[in-house]
Symmetry: C2
DNA sequence: GAGTGGTCTAGACCACGGT
DNA sequence: CCGTGGTCTAGACCACTCG
């Protein structure tokens, strides 16, 4: 009996650290507060900085912390609920749909998108870039791929590029009768350009929402929207009023 | 002109490595194939193992690789589409809904769930555990929180716990008229128990799908489903037939 | 320029899966 | 047992932000 079984299954240091820090965040810190720097924290917990960083990465992934080079580590606010797919079947660009058109180009889409569009893989399409903001910061970037066949009456002359052209494409698109929508969500990592737009580093975790719009029995458009996974909780159906998860963890025996 | 601008914005080694490996996966490897071990790969690319690992972590996050301790790193199959929310408003447990009941306990839920249930924060509820498989492996674990008030006629005697009790709770739940559902998706990291069940390490990235079931104007149940983010693509609406993303990356102009 | 987080190194040892 | 990926260390330097 003399042997007190301290750690029969010793959990990794960084995981234990994550738990300790998480509880500290719940009880001793408030939103926006900056933590001590990494070297200081590492010393305080008696671990190498790399180990501490592993714990911080976890907490950042969970949306508890926000780290910025040259600035510091701050306590993140609870994730904001962003409504996606208001369930009424609507084209993108319909009045007040939270997105803002940025510009519009004409180029060959990535192979995966081309396949889904059932178009030739070397055929150029309209690519509308849009962005979405919430709580004053950009939370999502979207690329909307529209084959020329979906906007036959588009007059290519008056607005060769830019926001005006983007709006023109969306307007033409809305003339089609939308028959259905398929949507999927998966985890991804931000490419360099998305990362920059979302004010994150390349490789930052993002939620990729892919939507296929169906009209006249064919795929009329494909939307690939990239949401910051650290700050966003995607809500479906309606009302983003849910506030579950991400409190002090308690285990339900 | 003599100065060739090699790397005006030198990207990190691990990011470049990720790209190189990603292209190699596209062209030189097939699904299920095992890669050379990390020490070998690191040596081959002339980087430290930690740097190589950073690249591998990215690719694993993107669902391109699967790493298992004691075994090796293998090329992952494309993510499977898992239908979530068949859009017809149904209670969980309705005929063939892809979930399998595991057991049922009676305990106090985590604070965040208790708040959403609008019950007292120290009030015990039924907790049904269910699991979901796809392609022969477990892809999701669910905890369904059901307040006693939602299943008033439950006879607590004949099945005190286990799958039988779980089914009894679901059966009673289905007697209520379902008025609505709210759903949200966010990124999380697997807790120790979920990780074990999903055959991942603690902290592995997961997609947390939270559903609030509304009946008689109140919250009748809360479901928290945890999906493996590396292997799953959540599909909404219907048909998981979309195959976008995660091909050879090409930039759209 | 001072201070922050981000990247990278070259080691060591551990935990696990198969033999 | 060996080989694998997982954890951890103690450093170094870089890139960024801000006063």
């Amino acid at each position: 009996m003399g042997t007190t079984q301290l750690e029969s299954v010793p959990e990794p240091k960084y995981w234990h650290l994550r738990t300790v820090l998480s509880e500290a965040l719940d009880s001793e810190f408030s939103v926006g507060e900056v933590l001590p720097n990494e070297r200081e924290l590492a010393a305080r917990f008696g671990v190498a900085r790399a180990t501490l960083r592993q714990a911080l990465e976890q907490l950042e992934l969970e949306g508890r912390l926000q780290r910025r080079r040259g600035v510091g580590t701050t306590v993140a606010p609870p994730r904001m609920g962003v409504a996606v797919g208001t369930e009424q079947h609507d084209w993108p660009g319909t009045a007040g749909d939270a997105w803002q058109s940025v510009d519009c180009t004409h180029a060959v889409p990535p192979a995966a998108v081309a396949a889904a569009l059932e178009s030739g893989s070397e055929e150029a399409v309209h690519i509308v870039r849009r962005s979405r903001t919430g709580n004053g910061q950009q939370v999502a970037a979207e690329l909307l791929y529209v084959p020329a066949a979906s906007v036959p009456d588009l007059t290519a002359i008056d607005a060769p590029s830019g926001p005006a052209r983007a709006r023109a494409v969306l307007r033409e698109l809305q003339r089609l009768e939308l028959e259905g929508r398929e949507r999927s969500v998966e985890l991804g990592s931000a490419r360099a350009d998305d990362a920059k737009e979302l004010d994150r580093l390349p490789g930052a975790p993002v939620l990729v929402v892919t939507t296929r719009f169906v009209a006249r029995g064919r795929t009329a458009a494909i939307s690939v929207a990239t949401y910051r996974a650290d700050t966003c909780r995607l809500t479906f159906g309606d009302s983003g009023g849910m506030e579950i998860h991400h409190g002090p963890e308690r285990q339900a025996s």
